[in-house]
Symmetry: C3
Subunit: 142 residues, 3 copies
Protein backbone atom coordinates (compact mmCIF):
# COMPACT_ATOMS: atom_id res chain seq x y z
CA UNK A 1 0.00 0.00 0.00
CA UNK A 2 1.44 3.34 -1.05
CA UNK A 3 0.69 7.00 -0.36
CA UNK A 4 1.20 9.40 -3.24
CA UNK A 5 0.75 13.15 -2.81
CA UNK A 6 0.22 15.71 -5.52
CA UNK A 7 -1.34 19.11 -5.97
CA UNK A 8 -3.78 20.72 -8.38
CA UNK A 9 -3.45 24.45 -8.96
CA UNK A 10 -6.33 26.63 -10.16
CA UNK A 11 -7.02 30.34 -10.41
CA UNK A 12 -10.35 31.70 -9.29
CA UNK A 13 -12.26 34.95 -9.76
CA UNK A 14 -13.65 37.37 -7.17
CA UNK A 15 -17.22 36.01 -7.13
CA UNK A 16 -18.38 32.69 -5.68
CA UNK A 17 -16.59 30.40 -8.10
CA UNK A 18 -17.53 26.76 -8.66
CA UNK A 19 -14.88 24.90 -10.66
CA UNK A 20 -14.95 21.34 -11.98
CA UNK A 21 -11.89 19.45 -10.69
CA UNK A 22 -12.83 16.01 -12.00
CA UNK A 23 -10.48 15.96 -15.00
CA UNK A 24 -7.38 17.16 -13.11
CA UNK A 25 -8.08 14.72 -10.25
CA UNK A 26 -8.41 11.90 -12.81
CA UNK A 27 -5.09 12.94 -14.34
CA UNK A 28 -3.39 12.62 -10.92
CA UNK A 29 -5.01 9.22 -10.43
CA UNK A 30 -3.67 8.02 -13.75
CA UNK A 31 -0.14 9.03 -12.75
CA UNK A 32 -0.53 7.31 -9.38
CA UNK A 33 -1.58 4.06 -11.10
CA UNK A 34 -3.50 2.75 -8.10
CA UNK A 35 -5.88 -0.12 -8.71
CA UNK A 36 -7.77 -0.18 -5.43
CA UNK A 37 -7.77 2.42 -2.66
CA UNK A 38 -9.02 5.95 -2.24
CA UNK A 39 -8.27 9.55 -3.01
CA UNK A 40 -8.38 12.21 -0.31
CA UNK A 41 -9.02 15.73 -1.54
CA UNK A 42 -8.38 18.68 0.74
CA UNK A 43 -8.45 22.42 0.22
CA UNK A 44 -6.12 24.42 2.46
CA UNK A 45 -7.69 27.78 3.30
CA UNK A 46 -10.70 29.06 5.20
CA UNK A 47 -12.72 30.63 2.36
CA UNK A 48 -13.08 27.63 0.02
CA UNK A 49 -14.57 24.13 0.16
CA UNK A 50 -15.02 20.90 -1.78
CA UNK A 51 -18.12 18.92 -2.71
CA UNK A 52 -19.67 17.07 -5.64
CA UNK A 53 -22.48 18.15 -7.97
CA UNK A 54 -23.69 17.59 -11.51
CA UNK A 55 -21.53 20.24 -13.16
CA UNK A 56 -24.26 21.73 -15.33
CA UNK A 57 -24.63 25.51 -15.49
CA UNK A 58 -28.20 25.42 -14.12
CA UNK A 59 -27.36 23.24 -11.11
CA UNK A 60 -24.27 25.33 -10.44
CA UNK A 61 -26.26 28.59 -10.41
CA UNK A 62 -28.95 26.93 -8.24
CA UNK A 63 -26.27 25.97 -5.73
CA UNK A 64 -24.93 29.55 -5.73
CA UNK A 65 -28.46 30.82 -5.04
CA UNK A 66 -28.87 28.38 -2.12
CA UNK A 67 -25.49 29.46 -0.70
CA UNK A 68 -26.57 33.09 -0.94
CA UNK A 69 -29.76 32.24 0.99
CA UNK A 70 -27.80 30.43 3.72
CA UNK A 71 -25.17 33.10 4.15
CA UNK A 72 -25.99 36.28 2.17
CA UNK A 73 -23.02 38.33 0.98
CA UNK A 74 -24.73 41.60 1.79
CA UNK A 75 -25.40 41.46 5.53
CA UNK A 76 -23.48 42.20 8.73
CA UNK A 77 -20.52 39.92 9.51
CA UNK A 78 -18.50 40.48 12.68
CA UNK A 79 -15.43 39.06 10.94
CA UNK A 80 -15.37 42.10 8.66
CA UNK A 81 -14.67 44.30 11.69
CA UNK A 82 -11.40 42.45 12.23
CA UNK A 83 -9.64 42.56 8.88
CA UNK A 84 -11.93 44.88 6.89
CA UNK A 85 -11.54 42.64 3.85
CA UNK A 86 -15.30 42.11 3.52
CA UNK A 87 -15.17 38.34 3.13
CA UNK A 88 -16.94 37.35 6.35
CA UNK A 89 -19.62 35.55 4.33
CA UNK A 90 -16.90 33.46 2.62
CA UNK A 91 -15.63 32.10 5.95
CA UNK A 92 -19.12 31.06 7.02
CA UNK A 93 -19.83 29.36 3.68
CA UNK A 94 -16.56 27.45 3.73
CA UNK A 95 -17.22 26.15 7.25
CA UNK A 96 -20.68 24.91 6.22
CA UNK A 97 -19.40 22.93 3.22
CA UNK A 98 -16.13 21.69 4.69
CA UNK A 99 -12.66 21.24 3.22
CA UNK A 100 -12.36 17.50 2.67
CA UNK A 101 -13.73 14.77 0.42
CA UNK A 102 -12.78 11.15 0.06
CA UNK A 103 -13.60 8.93 -2.87
CA UNK A 104 -12.99 5.17 -3.17
CA UNK A 105 -10.99 3.89 -6.15
CA UNK A 106 -12.00 0.55 -7.67
CA UNK A 107 -10.38 -0.97 -10.74
CA UNK A 108 -8.36 2.21 -11.15
CA UNK A 109 -11.40 4.52 -11.29
CA UNK A 110 -13.09 6.78 -8.75
CA UNK A 111 -16.54 5.49 -7.86
CA UNK A 112 -18.29 8.70 -8.92
CA UNK A 113 -21.77 8.61 -10.39
CA UNK A 114 -22.20 9.29 -14.11
CA UNK A 115 -23.35 12.88 -13.54
CA UNK A 116 -21.33 13.54 -10.40
CA UNK A 117 -18.38 15.91 -10.63
CA UNK A 118 -15.86 17.03 -8.01
CA UNK A 119 -16.01 20.78 -7.48
CA UNK A 120 -14.04 23.48 -5.75
CA UNK A 121 -16.20 26.18 -4.18
CA UNK A 122 -14.18 29.38 -3.84
CA UNK A 123 -16.16 31.91 -1.84
CA UNK A 124 -13.51 34.61 -1.44
CA UNK A 125 -14.19 38.12 -2.73
CA UNK A 126 -10.89 38.42 -4.60
CA UNK A 127 -9.18 36.26 -7.20
CA UNK A 128 -7.13 33.50 -5.58
CA UNK A 129 -4.54 30.97 -6.65
CA UNK A 130 -5.77 27.78 -5.03
CA UNK A 131 -3.89 24.60 -4.38
CA UNK A 132 -5.91 21.41 -3.85
CA UNK A 133 -4.13 18.54 -2.09
CA UNK A 134 -4.59 15.16 -3.75
CA UNK A 135 -3.55 12.12 -1.77
CA UNK A 136 -3.91 8.73 -3.42
CA UNK A 137 -3.68 5.77 -1.05
CA UNK A 138 -3.80 2.22 -2.29
CA UNK A 139 -2.39 -0.76 -4.05
CA UNK A 140 -1.02 -0.87 -7.55
CA UNK A 141 -1.83 -3.74 -9.88
CA UNK A 142 0.72 -6.50 -9.34
CA UNK B 1 -3.02 -3.43 5.97
CA UNK B 2 -5.78 -4.47 3.57
CA UNK B 3 -8.42 -2.74 1.48
CA UNK B 4 -11.78 -4.47 1.15
CA UNK B 5 -14.53 -3.11 -1.06
CA UNK B 6 -18.19 -3.96 -0.91
CA UNK B 7 -21.52 -2.40 -1.78
CA UNK B 8 -24.84 -1.88 -0.04
CA UNK B 9 -27.95 -1.72 -2.22
CA UNK B 10 -31.14 0.05 -1.16
CA UNK B 11 -34.34 1.15 -2.85
CA UNK B 12 -35.74 4.59 -2.16
CA UNK B 13 -39.06 6.36 -2.70
CA UNK B 14 -39.84 9.55 -4.60
CA UNK B 15 -39.82 11.90 -1.60
CA UNK B 16 -36.78 13.00 0.42
CA UNK B 17 -35.87 9.65 1.89
CA UNK B 18 -33.68 9.21 4.96
CA UNK B 19 -32.61 5.60 5.44
CA UNK B 20 -30.63 4.04 8.30
CA UNK B 21 -27.55 2.27 6.91
CA UNK B 22 -25.93 1.38 10.22
CA UNK B 23 -26.92 -2.30 10.28
CA UNK B 24 -25.85 -3.09 6.69
CA UNK B 25 -22.55 -1.21 7.19
CA UNK B 26 -21.95 -3.23 10.38
CA UNK B 27 -22.65 -6.42 8.45
CA UNK B 28 -19.95 -5.49 5.89
CA UNK B 29 -17.54 -4.70 8.70
CA UNK B 30 -18.13 -8.08 10.25
CA UNK B 31 -17.29 -9.80 6.96
CA UNK B 32 -14.16 -7.65 6.56
CA UNK B 33 -12.94 -8.70 10.04
CA UNK B 34 -10.79 -5.62 10.52
CA UNK B 35 -9.62 -4.87 14.04
CA UNK B 36 -8.27 -1.35 13.60
CA UNK B 37 -8.69 0.98 10.64
CA UNK B 38 -11.53 2.91 9.08
CA UNK B 39 -14.52 2.61 6.82
CA UNK B 40 -15.05 5.00 3.93
CA UNK B 41 -18.65 5.38 2.81
CA UNK B 42 -19.44 7.02 -0.51
CA UNK B 43 -22.64 7.50 -2.48
CA UNK B 44 -22.22 7.68 -6.25
CA UNK B 45 -24.78 10.07 -7.73
CA UNK B 46 -25.57 13.76 -7.58
CA UNK B 47 -28.97 13.70 -5.87
CA UNK B 48 -28.10 11.82 -2.66
CA UNK B 49 -25.78 12.27 0.32
CA UNK B 50 -24.53 10.66 3.53
CA UNK B 51 -24.43 11.91 7.11
CA UNK B 52 -25.13 10.73 10.65
CA UNK B 53 -28.11 11.48 12.90
CA UNK B 54 -30.05 9.92 15.76
CA UNK B 55 -32.40 7.82 13.64
CA UNK B 56 -35.57 8.68 15.52
CA UNK B 57 -38.69 9.64 13.53
CA UNK B 58 -38.87 13.12 15.12
CA UNK B 59 -35.23 14.01 14.42
CA UNK B 60 -35.56 12.63 10.89
CA UNK B 61 -38.62 14.79 10.16
CA UNK B 62 -36.91 17.81 11.74
CA UNK B 63 -33.95 17.31 9.40
CA UNK B 64 -36.31 17.07 6.41
CA UNK B 65 -37.93 20.35 7.48
CA UNK B 66 -34.52 22.06 7.75
CA UNK B 67 -33.55 20.75 4.30
CA UNK B 68 -36.80 22.12 2.89
CA UNK B 69 -35.98 25.53 4.43
CA UNK B 70 -32.45 25.53 2.94
CA UNK B 71 -33.50 24.44 -0.51
CA UNK B 72 -37.30 24.39 -0.96
CA UNK B 73 -38.68 21.89 -3.44
CA UNK B 74 -41.24 24.34 -4.76
CA UNK B 75 -39.18 27.24 -6.12
CA UNK B 76 -37.38 28.08 -9.37
CA UNK B 77 -34.33 25.97 -10.20
CA UNK B 78 -32.36 26.70 -13.37
CA UNK B 79 -31.36 23.03 -13.54
CA UNK B 80 -34.98 22.12 -14.29
CA UNK B 81 -34.75 24.04 -17.57
CA UNK B 82 -32.07 21.65 -18.74
CA UNK B 83 -33.53 18.20 -18.24
CA UNK B 84 -37.11 19.04 -17.21
CA UNK B 85 -37.02 16.31 -14.60
CA UNK B 86 -37.89 18.72 -11.81
CA UNK B 87 -35.18 17.56 -9.39
CA UNK B 88 -33.09 20.77 -9.30
CA UNK B 89 -33.65 21.03 -5.55
CA UNK B 90 -32.23 17.50 -5.13
CA UNK B 91 -28.91 18.48 -6.74
CA UNK B 92 -28.53 21.49 -4.47
CA UNK B 93 -29.33 19.49 -1.34
CA UNK B 94 -26.87 16.72 -2.24
CA UNK B 95 -24.07 19.25 -2.80
CA UNK B 96 -24.71 20.83 0.61
CA UNK B 97 -24.52 17.53 2.51
CA UNK B 98 -21.77 15.86 0.50
CA UNK B 99 -21.25 12.27 -0.66
CA UNK B 100 -18.59 10.92 1.70
CA UNK B 101 -18.18 9.90 5.32
CA UNK B 102 -15.33 8.22 7.11
CA UNK B 103 -15.52 6.44 10.43
CA UNK B 104 -12.63 5.02 12.47
CA UNK B 105 -12.75 1.36 13.50
CA UNK B 106 -11.35 0.42 16.90
CA UNK B 107 -11.44 -3.08 18.35
CA UNK B 108 -13.53 -4.16 15.39
CA UNK B 109 -16.28 -1.58 15.94
CA UNK B 110 -17.07 1.77 14.35
CA UNK B 111 -16.58 4.60 16.82
CA UNK B 112 -20.16 5.85 16.49
CA UNK B 113 -21.95 7.41 19.43
CA UNK B 114 -24.70 5.43 21.14
CA UNK B 115 -27.48 7.36 19.40
CA UNK B 116 -25.61 8.09 16.17
CA UNK B 117 -26.70 6.28 13.04
CA UNK B 118 -25.33 6.40 9.50
CA UNK B 119 -27.97 7.63 7.05
CA UNK B 120 -28.48 7.88 3.33
CA UNK B 121 -30.29 11.04 2.26
CA UNK B 122 -31.96 10.46 -1.09
CA UNK B 123 -33.35 13.74 -2.42
CA UNK B 124 -34.41 12.63 -5.87
CA UNK B 125 -38.04 13.00 -6.94
CA UNK B 126 -38.38 9.45 -8.24
CA UNK B 127 -37.70 6.03 -6.69
CA UNK B 128 -34.05 5.04 -7.11
CA UNK B 129 -31.95 1.95 -6.65
CA UNK B 130 -28.95 3.24 -4.76
CA UNK B 131 -25.59 1.62 -4.33
CA UNK B 132 -23.42 2.78 -1.40
CA UNK B 133 -19.70 2.05 -1.65
CA UNK B 134 -18.18 0.60 1.51
CA UNK B 135 -14.41 0.51 1.72
CA UNK B 136 -12.84 -1.02 4.81
CA UNK B 137 -9.15 -0.24 5.29
CA UNK B 138 -7.16 -1.71 8.13
CA UNK B 139 -5.47 -4.49 9.93
CA UNK B 140 -6.96 -7.80 10.92
CA UNK B 141 -6.31 -9.32 14.33
CA UNK B 142 -3.13 -11.38 14.17
CA UNK C 1 2.09 1.98 6.94
CA UNK C 2 0.73 2.20 10.48
CA UNK C 3 -2.57 3.11 12.09
CA UNK C 4 -2.39 4.97 15.40
CA UNK C 5 -5.51 5.82 17.38
CA UNK C 6 -5.86 8.40 20.10
CA UNK C 7 -8.52 10.58 21.65
CA UNK C 8 -8.90 14.24 22.53
CA UNK C 9 -11.17 15.11 25.44
CA UNK C 10 -12.86 18.48 25.83
CA UNK C 11 -15.59 19.94 27.99
CA UNK C 12 -18.25 22.12 26.43
CA UNK C 13 -20.88 24.54 27.71
CA UNK C 14 -24.65 24.55 27.20
CA UNK C 15 -24.73 26.99 24.26
CA UNK C 16 -23.55 26.29 20.71
CA UNK C 17 -19.87 25.91 21.43
CA UNK C 18 -17.16 26.22 18.79
CA UNK C 19 -13.78 25.02 20.08
CA UNK C 20 -10.38 25.13 18.38
CA UNK C 21 -8.92 21.61 18.24
CA UNK C 22 -5.87 22.42 16.10
CA UNK C 23 -3.30 22.42 18.91
CA UNK C 24 -4.43 19.14 20.52
CA UNK C 25 -4.62 17.44 17.09
CA UNK C 26 -1.07 18.67 16.34
CA UNK C 27 0.08 17.25 19.67
CA UNK C 28 -1.31 13.82 18.72
CA UNK C 29 0.40 14.07 15.34
CA UNK C 30 3.71 14.80 16.96
CA UNK C 31 3.39 11.71 19.13
CA UNK C 32 2.44 9.59 16.11
CA UNK C 33 5.57 10.77 14.24
CA UNK C 34 4.10 10.15 10.80
CA UNK C 35 5.87 11.76 7.87
CA UNK C 36 3.31 11.21 5.13
CA UNK C 37 -0.29 10.06 5.45
CA UNK C 38 -3.49 11.51 6.84
CA UNK C 39 -5.42 12.14 9.98
CA UNK C 40 -9.06 11.13 10.31
CA UNK C 41 -11.04 13.09 12.88
CA UNK C 42 -14.42 11.83 14.03
CA UNK C 43 -16.84 12.96 16.71
CA UNK C 44 -19.00 10.23 18.21
CA UNK C 45 -22.43 11.63 19.09
CA UNK C 46 -25.42 13.06 17.28
CA UNK C 47 -25.39 16.65 18.57
CA UNK C 48 -21.87 17.72 17.56
CA UNK C 49 -19.85 18.07 14.37
CA UNK C 50 -16.41 18.92 12.96
CA UNK C 51 -15.31 21.45 10.35
CA UNK C 52 -12.59 24.04 9.73
CA UNK C 53 -12.77 27.84 10.01
CA UNK C 54 -10.51 30.80 10.73
CA UNK C 55 -10.79 30.68 14.50
CA UNK C 56 -11.32 34.40 15.02
CA UNK C 57 -14.09 35.58 17.37
CA UNK C 58 -15.91 37.46 14.58
CA UNK C 59 -15.94 34.54 12.13
CA UNK C 60 -16.98 32.18 14.93
CA UNK C 61 -19.94 34.38 15.89
CA UNK C 62 -20.87 34.79 12.20
CA UNK C 63 -20.95 31.00 11.86
CA UNK C 64 -23.15 30.71 14.96
CA UNK C 65 -25.54 33.26 13.44
CA UNK C 66 -25.70 31.31 10.16
CA UNK C 67 -26.37 28.08 12.07
CA UNK C 68 -29.19 29.82 13.95
CA UNK C 69 -30.70 30.93 10.62
CA UNK C 70 -30.49 27.37 9.19
CA UNK C 71 -31.94 25.66 12.22
CA UNK C 72 -33.26 28.12 14.81
CA UNK C 73 -33.16 27.00 18.43
CA UNK C 74 -36.53 28.49 19.20
CA UNK C 75 -38.93 26.70 16.86
CA UNK C 76 -40.91 23.46 16.84
CA UNK C 77 -38.87 20.24 16.63
CA UNK C 78 -40.65 16.89 16.55
CA UNK C 79 -37.63 15.30 18.26
CA UNK C 80 -38.42 17.25 21.41
CA UNK C 81 -41.70 15.33 21.75
CA UNK C 82 -39.71 12.12 22.12
CA UNK C 83 -37.20 12.83 24.85
CA UNK C 84 -38.32 16.26 26.06
CA UNK C 85 -34.72 17.34 26.35
CA UNK C 86 -35.23 20.32 24.03
CA UNK C 87 -32.19 19.67 21.84
CA UNK C 88 -33.97 18.87 18.57
CA UNK C 89 -32.20 21.77 16.87
CA UNK C 90 -28.84 20.30 17.92
CA UNK C 91 -29.54 17.03 16.09
CA UNK C 92 -30.46 18.85 12.89
CA UNK C 93 -27.37 21.06 13.03
CA UNK C 94 -25.04 18.12 13.63
CA UNK C 95 -26.47 16.22 10.65
CA UNK C 96 -25.95 19.25 8.38
CA UNK C 97 -22.27 19.68 9.31
CA UNK C 98 -21.32 16.02 9.61
CA UNK C 99 -19.07 14.14 12.03
CA UNK C 100 -15.90 13.48 10.04
CA UNK C 101 -12.93 15.32 8.59
CA UNK C 102 -9.79 14.07 6.94
CA UNK C 103 -6.60 16.02 6.48
CA UNK C 104 -3.50 14.96 4.54
CA UNK C 105 -0.14 14.96 6.32
CA UNK C 106 2.93 15.98 4.31
CA UNK C 107 6.42 16.28 5.77
CA UNK C 108 4.96 15.63 9.20
CA UNK C 109 2.46 18.51 9.05
CA UNK C 110 -1.25 18.74 8.31
CA UNK C 111 -1.87 20.59 5.06
CA UNK C 112 -4.07 23.24 6.69
CA UNK C 113 -4.11 26.79 5.39
CA UNK C 114 -2.42 29.50 7.45
CA UNK C 115 -5.71 30.78 8.86
CA UNK C 116 -7.55 27.46 8.88
CA UNK C 117 -8.28 25.82 12.21
CA UNK C 118 -9.98 22.54 13.07
CA UNK C 119 -13.10 23.10 15.17
CA UNK C 120 -15.55 21.10 17.19
CA UNK C 121 -19.11 22.37 16.94
CA UNK C 122 -21.06 21.28 20.01
CA UNK C 123 -24.73 22.10 19.54
CA UNK C 124 -26.15 20.39 22.61
CA UNK C 125 -28.11 22.42 25.16
CA UNK C 126 -26.21 21.09 28.16
CA UNK C 127 -22.51 20.89 29.03
CA UNK C 128 -20.91 17.77 27.58
CA UNK C 129 -17.66 15.88 27.93
CA UNK C 130 -16.70 15.21 24.34
CA UNK C 131 -14.24 12.70 23.01
CA UNK C 132 -12.84 13.27 19.51
CA UNK C 133 -11.32 10.25 17.77
CA UNK C 134 -7.96 10.92 16.12
CA UNK C 135 -6.66 8.28 13.73
CA UNK C 136 -3.28 8.86 12.15
CA UNK C 137 -2.53 6.65 9.15
CA UNK C 138 0.80 6.77 7.39
CA UNK C 139 4.47 6.13 7.12
CA UNK C 140 7.13 7.17 9.56
CA UNK C 141 10.43 8.62 8.37
CA UNK C 142 12.86 5.79 7.74
Amino acid sequence: MRIQNSRIFVETTSGTDILDLTAPVRAELKKAAVDTGSVILFIPGSTAALTTIEFESGAVSDLKAAIERMSPEDMYYAHNERWHDGNGYAHVRAAIFGPSLQIPILAGEMSLGTWQQIVLLDFDNRPRKRCIMVQVVGESPS
